[in-house]
């Protein structure tokens, strides 16, 4: 149970970090951490199918799409 508490806490901290960071690449990595921890929570909630989808898409493909978009625009938020 303590494990779940720590995971949820870490997930919320990562989400807040994603809103604070001025460097958009750091923000995207923090958002990927949110997705990764959400995948672990899905697994603990007995949803292995959804956990696989979230780990493959939320943590990998979404990050790649964001980073390509940031490379084509600006990296820092003014």
């Amino acid at each position: 149970m303590i494990f779940v508490f720590l995971l949820v806490l870490l997930m919320l901290i990562a989400a807040i970090a994603a809103s604070i960071f001025k460097d958009l690449i750091s923000a995207v990595i923090a958002a990927a951490l949110v997705s990764l921890i959400a995948a672990i929570l899905f697994y603990l909630l007995q949803a292995p199918d959804v956990a696989m989808a979230e780990a493959a898409i939320g943590a990998a493909l979404v990050t790649v799409v964001f980073i390509i978009a940031i490379r084509r625009t600006k990296r820092f938020e003014e």
């Binding site: 199918d49 696989m52 989808a53 493959a56 990998a60 493909l61 799409v65 390509i68």
Partner: protein, 228 residues
């Protein structure tokens, strides 16, 4: 000022959502339809993974709609990013280092194989067309990062995508002709927990896997195209 109004608004929304949704108890069974799928799923569809039997048998029409949304999003992205008909100059792409290049050439077929395993065994184990398709697409992302001069052919990905959608609809229409309703499971169910079982479910999931994989790879390809 704007920030204060936003936070105030957020507080009101948060209060409303929390008050209305916190009454939902945690950890108790809620829907009757889920119970029905669990009790009758294996017998009616032959798939031991109940989530798969819901996605590609009971709610297959819904899945067809969702695949269509994915297709429209991919088309829209291509349309938004295309800027006129100007010819791109042939740019010299800087090659990746030897370690990266060799590693990515070694890993690419293994990742493809893993993705194919995931979507072929979708009716037996966790996984299926959507997850397998995402893994296939991530294999293509790896080649974009590691072996930069390689590109997937646009025609190939479009062909796989269109063929996937076509086979999905044709299987559904055959069900309509044989048994009277769209996407009927007309093939023999077989013995549960064997690879060749569950009628049309493996066919549909392989088709979805190919379609999702080629669509996601096409999206990444479109986004990356002009950035060099």
């Amino acid at each position: 000022m704007r920030r204060i109004i936003s936070i105030l608004l957020l507080g009101i929304i948060a209060l409303g959502i929390t008050l209305s949704l916190a009454k939902i108890p945690f950890g108790t069974p809620k829907t009757k339809v889920g119970r029905y799928y669990i009790d009758k799923g294996v017998e009616e569809t032959g798939a031991t993974n109940i989530v798969t039997s819901v996605v590609v048998n009971y709610r297959a029409f819904d899945t067809l709609g969702e695949v269509t949304v994915l297709f429209i999003a991919a088309i829209g992205l291509g349309a938004v990013l295309t800027t006129g008909r100007r010819k791109k100059p042939e740019r010299k792409i800087e090659p990746a280092s030897l370690v990266l290049y060799t590693g990515c050439r070694f890993l690419f077929p293994l990742i493809l194989l893993f993705g194919a395993y995931i979507f072929v065994h979708g009716h037996l184990t966790p996984g299926g067309g959507f997850q397998g398709g995402a893994i296939v697409a991530s294999a293509f992302v790896l080649t974009y990062l590691g072996c930069r001069e390689r590109r997937i052919s646009e025609r190939g990905s479009k062909l796989a995508e269109s063929l996937g959608g076509l086979i999905f609809v044709i299987v559904g229409l055959v069900g309509l002709a044989v048994g009277g309703y769209f996407l009927m499971n007309f093939l023999p169910k077989g013995i549960p927990n064997f690879l060749f079982s569950a009628g049309i479910i493996p066919i549909l999931y392989i088709v979805i896997g190919v379609k999702v994989g080629s669509e996601l790879a096409g999206i990444i390809d479109n986004l990356i195209e002009e950035s060099e």
